[in-house]
């Protein structure tokens, strides 16, 4: 399937994520967007790789749930339309530098400690590094405070895995929407 461009569309005042696929505009969830390899707007391929690996350490299943497409879509939106939790954690927009410097710091620490990028670490190595991040800046870290970066990315992962109707179903609790989300998390 050919993908050409991606744009925001508006529907009833609600920002929907639209993709133009094969010349037709369609709405996709980040999970579907990932499966269809929709191009990223903000994140680089290396950042996506690191982000998905970190997401799997923080909450397994988050990469497949479209964590990278979710974050990329939100970073591409105007500050008014962004739905990332970081918006109320004391960081002023734009938020892209926070993510890019944090992911770079993660790779720096991984290389400093293990001589490899984060995505290439073993499961044990990556879990240990995340454990360090949760407490303090790991060795080789240079970027936003590691515990804060951990907190923000962990919450992003929780958003895509458990903040949706499917996530509620996984927990066997009722969603009980008055008004259903148009997609799973703002696409």
């Amino acid at each position: 399937m050919q993908q050409s461009r991606r744009t925001f569309i508006r529907n009833s005042g609600i920002g929907l994520l639209g993709f133009t696929v094969g010349g037709c505009e369609v709405k996709l969830t980040p999970e579907d967007a990932r499966q269809q390899k929709i191009p990223f707007q903000v994140l680089s391929p290396d950042e996506v790789r690191t982000l998905e690996a970190l997401g799997e350490s923080l909450l397994p299943g988050s990469a497949a749930a479209g964590l990278a497409h979710f974050i990329d879509h939100q970073l591409a939106a105007s500050p008014r339309d962004q739905l990332l939790m970081i918006k109320y954690l004391g960081v002023s927009p734009p938020f892209s530098p926070f993510y890019s410097t944090g992911l770079a710091a993660l790779n720096n620490s991984a290389n400093d400690q293990h001589g490899a990028d984060y995505a290439d670490l073993t499961r044990e190595q990556s879990a240990a590094l995340v454990g360090q991040m949760a407490q303090a800046n790991p060795q080789g870290w240079s970027g936003p405070a590691a515990p804060f970066f951990y907190f923000v990315l962990r919450n992003d992962a929780v958003d895509v895995v458990y903040g949706t109707k499917e996530g509620f179903e996984r927990l066997d609790i009722p969603y009980m929407a008055h008004i259903e989300p148009p997609g799973r998390w703002g696409e």
């Binding site: 397994p60 939790m85 109320y88 903040g163 996530g167 009980m176 008004i179 259903e180 703002g186």
Partner: protein, 526 residues
């Protein structure tokens, strides 16, 4: 439609709870009113049930710079768009107590209000009839005098029953949480179905937010609401004796003016002092209404004491209202914890409906967990989680303040900087509450009890009312001491925070102010 340049009776800056309430009363009273809202238009049908989508309701305007040891959490606490922060508020509506109005007189601490509970009681009663509050006045043994609630209380779900058991074992009392939520049809509004989506906005009108209650009344009586209109300056006459209107920037970036007999600033606690300070003139060099030098001072935010537990029983923690099911005010006495160094009041909001994600969601309560451990916890907590939150009085400190930054927004207006560090005695009260709360959860049979970090709930002060114009900004009606036709509305008026949620008091003050304005219109505007 009122056009920019046309003179109106009143221009109200902000369409949140206080602005909408005053707009409705003035419009019903025959005044020509325009409301300018910096954020976008909202209606109930745009309120999507999702903790992620709910973030649209949080502040998304010009950045606010936060400093100090205990930041106020402006983006989280403030609102953006029509209805303001009331669109994501939890509708917990307890009253302030009598002693809250006389903290300086009674305890030689903090400040006094320029009015007493008796002055405000009729307006609490009026507002609860108009907006609809559910509760049980008899069970609420701590409640100051007032009419019974017009609706029966919130139903009790398993989480509430389980935690109440802990309070009972500790010799403490619980009562239904007073909520501005319908437990029966009220003024044509639907009945709450207790789905816990309160802070995502309530599209069925069960929760008393401005889009459901006051704004329809205001519009029916001719008030005009203009969204995406950011006020950049308050205008004065040549002598600086009166305000003449406001300047605002619309969505296209065009700057216009609305001229008015009366200006009401109802743009929340941080933006109100920012606008006053940024509107300085040669007649008001330190900002409008700032002869006292107190514009911006005494910003307060309730420290939130968060207690969590896991129970073997099913808690059905996803049911109920986001604010909770039960109330306890046994520790409301200011000196209840004397000897610990703590001073002030607090209440427990008990058994809050909770969602898996977001800042107050289940996952965030155990931020230390990740990987498979987080999945295991989520599956357990989804069915056995319980929580309660203490609203801790934040004693006013003059240095906790809104000031202007050197940075400017896209319209050239200096950004607001908010500095806040919790008063030492309030911090000790927060710690005392946490100890009490953990003991209650253990008594209730929790197999695991833990606490959260200090949260910031609500933002108050910054344009406080007072009897003395030398150390306050407004009188007891919110009328600025310096400029009679410039009023402030909202929680920024509070000289002390009490230990209760501010929304009911915001409405009571707005009702009292509206009545005063209509009765004294000519003397206020000139």
């Amino acid at each position: 439609m009122t056009l920019p340049g046309e003179k109106v009776d009143a221009v109200i800056v902000g369409s949140g709870a206080s602005g909408s309430a005053i707009a409705a009363k003035l419009a019903v009273g025959g005044k020509k009113v325009i409301i300018l809202e910096a954020g976008p238009e909202r209606d109930n049908q745009s309120l999507i049930s999702s903790a992620i989508w709910a973030r649209r309701l949080k502040w998304s305007g010009e950045p606010v710079i936060e400093e100090g040891e205990n930041r106020v959490g402006h983006v989280f606490n403030a609102g953006f768009g029509v209805g303001g922060s009331a669109m994501h508020h939890y509708a917990v509506w307890p009253r302030l107590h009598g002693e809250d109005f006389q903290v300086r007189t009674l305890y030689d601490q903090a400040l006094d209000w320029p009015l007493r509970y008796d002055d405000l009681q009729p307006y609490y009663d009026q507002v609860q009839r108009e907006s609809g509050v559910a509760g049980d006045a008899e069970q609420e043994i701590w409640r100051p005098p007032g009419e019974p609630y017009p609706m029966l209380p919130v139903p009790l779900f398993a989480q509430g029953e389980i935690i109440a058991r802990g309070f009972e074992k500790q010799g403490m009392h619980t009562a239904p949480l007073p909520l501005a939520v319908t437990t029966s049809q009220y003024n044509g509004r639907a009945v709450c179905i207790w789905d816990g989506w309160c802070d995502a906005g309530c599209p069925i009108g069960a929760l008393a937010n401005p889009v459901t209650t006051d704004l329809p009344i205001a519009k029916r009586h001719g008030a005009v609401l203009q969204a995406n209109a950011t006020v950049s300056r308050i205008l004065t006459n040549d002598t600086g004796e009166y305000v003449t209107g406001v300047e605002f920037v619309d969505e296209s970036g065009k700057t216009s003016r609305i001229m008015a007999e009366l200006v009401v600033l109802a743009a929340f606690t941080v933006q109100n002092p920012r606008l006053l300070l940024a509107s300085a003139t040669d007649k008001h060099r330190s900002g409008l209404a700032n002869s006292s030098g107190k514009v911006g001072s005494y910003v307060m935010s309730h420290p939130a004491a968060l207690v969590y537990g896991l129970f073997d029983e099913k808690t059905h923690c996803y049911l109920g209202a986001f604010g909770g099911q039960l109330l306890n005010q046994d520790s409301y006495g200011k000196t209840t914890h004397a000897g610990t160094g703590a001073f002030g009041s607090y209440q427990w909001m008990i058994a809050q409906a909770v969602k898996p994600n977001d800042l107050l969601g289940i996952a965030t309560t155990r931020a230390d967990l990740f990987g498979d451990d987080l999945h295991v916890f989520m599956k357990q907590a989804a069915h056995g989680f319980a929580s309660m939150t203490a609203v801790i009085e934040d004693l006013p400190v003059a240095e906790n303040a809104v000031t202007l930054s050197d940075q400017k927004d896209r319209f050239g207006v200096p950004l607001a900087r908010v500095t806040h560090t919790t008063h030492a005695e309030s911090k000790l009260l927060w710690q005392a509450a946490l100890e009490e709360g953990q003991a209650i959860f253990k008594a209730a049979g929790a197999r695991k009890v833990w606490i959260g970090p200090q949260g910031s709930m609500h933002i108050m002060g910054g344009t406080i009312m007072g009897a003395d114009s030398a150390n306050s900004v407004c009188n007891d009606y919110g009328q600025t001491h310096d400029i009679s036709n410039l009023l402030i509305a909202g929680a920024g008026l509070f000289p002390t925070s009490g230990g209760v949620n501010p929304m009911f008091t915001i409405h009571a003050l707005a009702a009292r102010t509206s009545e005063y304005l209509l009765k004294n219109w000519n003397s206020v505007i000139r």
